[in-house]
């Protein structure tokens, strides 16, 4: 049954490209997003489709290195490479790209990307509670930019209903991720990543929500039947740090090939998405507050990540934590010192920090570290 659903997911993914084209033919717009900080609700409120953009594969990196330095995070190089080689269908569909000044590498790369397609860059403050007003002004400005691009008026009512729709989507994702709290989990980390990744691109949000819920229900049936690729003794690993997706999943693959189960993802491709925007407050205030509180390592200090990890280590019954840093990502690399302290001193659990890129060249070196880490569990 699970296989059947994964097959369906593949079919729906292929159908999705046709859906987006049909939507565009009707004169509607597509807005591409690079980072979790930009409120996608605003695109929905302008009757546009918000789409995450490609940046998780090795293939376009060589082309990106014709322009960008080699010693740069692979996520930035891959994102730019996809745009420069015009190999990301979602980038091609996009009428406008919305990006943020998260880290130095990204903000300077977006300046170059702007020559390929218009990029609106939000100035992201890097201390959360103190800078809510300037961030709110950025969000307000994004509203007028989107109104200009789409020719639609974004009313407070439309934002509110977009919030409620996307809250449902986030809730569906959270419920899916939470099935891995079961011991053993009915899903492998690789399956979880695939489902989260593919459902992210849906043109029709409701379709995505329904499919996510269907998969979650199936997983609950499996839990009841105690069907799982793992046993109760399989080490349960939490992966924290940089985002991962299809093509940048080698560490998850190695972990699971070495007989562990990655049950939790504390990253912006995983549990950092599991938030809920207040539906009672003024919608722009609610959006600004909620999105700015995302605990990415670009924030300083970043207590939110410590809190989120503390909660997840307990709730997912974690046996060991792997902290993943993409090469040249200084913020996650340095923040690892705090994470190691939390994991080793507070939870007395094995900890492994890995720094790598998207290439396969260091697979065996990673495997030694992963196996030695699992010997510690």
């Amino acid at each position: 049954m699970k296989e059947k659903l994964l097959k369906k997911l593949q079919q729906v993914t292929e159908q999705n490209l046709i859906d987006i084209e049909a939507h565009k033919e009707k004169g509607n717009q597509v807005v591409g997003f690079y980072c979790l900080y930009a409120p996608t609700e605003l695109a929905v409120a302008a009757d546009a489709i918000p789409l995450p953009l490609c940046g998780t594969r090795q293939a376009p990196i060589e082309a990106a290195e014709e322009t960008l330095p080699r010693n740069l995070c692979p996520l930035i190089k891959s994102s730019y490479g996809f745009a420069a080689t015009d190999t990301c269908p979602f980038f091609r569909f996009s009428d406008l790209i919305v990006a943020d000044t998260t880290c130095d590498g990204k903000k300077k790369m977006f300046e170059l990307m702007n020559d390929i397609k218009p990029v609106h860059v939000l100035q992201l403050p890097q201390k959360q509670d103190a800078f809510i007003e300037p961030w709110k002004a950025e969000v307000e400005q994004l509203i007028s930019v989107l109104e200009k691009t789409t020719g639609k008026t974004i009313t407070r009512e439309k934002i509110s209903s977009a919030i409620s729709l996307l809250n449902k989507e986030r809730e569906a994702k959270k419920r899916l991720m939470d099935v891995a709290k079961a011991k053993p989990s009915p899903l492998s980390g690789m399956e979880m990543i695939e489902i989260l990744f593919k459902t992210g691109f849906f043109a029709d949000k409701q379709k995505g929500i329904d499919l996510l819920n269907e998969i979650t229900e199936e997983c609950h049936t499996l839990i009841q039947k105690e069907e799982s690729p793992f046993t109760k003794d399989t080490p349960r690993i939490l992966l924290t740090g940089v985002p991962t997706g299809l093509g940048s999943d080698k560490v998850i693959k190695i972990l699971e090939e070495s007989n562990s189960n990655v049950v939790a993802f504390e990253s912006c491709s995983g549990y950092k998405q599991a938030f809920k925007v207040d539906e009672v407050k003024d919608p722009v205030t609610a959006l600004s507050e909620q999105y700015l509180s995302i605990p990415c390592s670009v924030m300083s200090p970043n207590q939110g990540r410590i809190d989120l990890l503390t909660e997840m280590i307990k709730e997912f019954s974690i046996d060991g934590v792997v902290d993943l840093t993409w090469q040249a990502c200084h913020t996650y690399n340095i923040e690892s010192v705090h994470i190691q302290k939390l994991v080793e001193d507070k939870f007395n659990l094995p900890f492994l920090h890995l720094e790598t890129d998207y290439s396969e060249s260091d697979t065996e070196q990673l495997r030694v570290r992963v196996e030695a880490f699992l010997e510690m569990v």
């Binding site: 900890f351 070196q365 030694v368 570290r369 030695a372 010997e375």
Partner: protein, 255 residues
């Protein structure tokens, strides 16, 4: 019951055989370009009931010989604790990687760090530098000790350090002092890894580079920590694997 451990490293392969708890035989050879062929030749004629593989060639060996495997980390920890039962810090500098392992008081690995991205600060680094300066690798450390001062070498990358050494030679600098500078660079690099992973207590130093007198001496001098070297430090990984193989046998028998 006879148990064997084979450590298939990037530069050399070692085998240790344990019979009833004591080391009965050791073998060593260069890895060359055909690790599995070399390993096969080495176990030829060797008698053992079980064998456990470690080192970077362990997974190939596993497929070929249906042997179990462990990582170098676990094998080195086991070997070090066998030679020095109170060990809590293990430093291994092999042919192409270096690692620091922290153990708890029961000898269990609780933290480790590895440098295996390049040959920086490893046996391979010293080997290439010895060649560049015209020294034999066996006496390279002793030569360095004889120098009166060291010339600072700033590059740790083998390729860059080689050009740095070449230009120092061209400037007419004393090769013995350059040798000392190179050795110092290795020691300092290793100390920062030790301080990060396991900053206190005696250091059990294993791997081929532990045979180099300069590295061991200055490591102890700078860190003010006791540096303990087993009899055959390059055999430590194979010994650890053999010990783990014999533990596995005992467990199987009990079942």
């Amino acid at each position: 019951m006879i148990s064997a451990g084979i450590d298939i490293g990037s530069r050399s392969i070692e085998i240790a055989v344990i019979e009833n708890g004591t080391l009965s035989e050791t073998r060593k050879t260069d890895t060359g370009f055909d690790p599995i062929g070399q390993a096969k030749k080495m176990i030829n004629g060797l008698k053992f009931d079980s064998i456990l593989a470690t080192g970077y060639g362990r997974n190939l060996f596993e497929i070929e010989h249906e042997a179990d495997t462990v990582t170098e980390i676990k094998a080195h920890a086991k070997g070090a604790v066998h030679s020095f039962p109170n060990a809590t810090t293990v430093l291994d500098i092999g042919g192409q990687d270096s690692k620091v392992i922290k153990l708890n008081d029961k000898g269990k690995v609780i933290r480790f760090e590895m440098n295996d991205r390049c040959a920086a600060g490893t046996g391979k680094f010293l080997e290439i530098m010895a060649k560049t300066l015209g020294f034999s690798i066996d006496t390279f450390g002793a030569k360095a000790i004889s120098a009166e001062k060291d010339l600072a070498i700033s590059s740790m990358c083998t390729v860059f350090a080689e050009s740095e050494v070449t230009s120092l030679v061209a400037k007419g600098e004393n090769p013995v002092e350059i040798a000392r500078g190179l050795h110092m660079a290795v020691v300092k690099r290793v100390i920062s890894m030790l301080n990060r992973v396991s900053p206190k207590g005696p250091i059990v130093f294993t791997g081929g580079v532990a045979n180099n007198p300069f590295v061991a001496k200055h490591l102890a001098q700078i860190t003010q920590r006791n540096v303990l070297i087993p009899d055959h430090p390059e055999m430590n990984g194979a010994l650890g694997a053999a010990l783990l193989a014999s533990e596995n046998n005992t467990k199987k028998e009990k079942k």
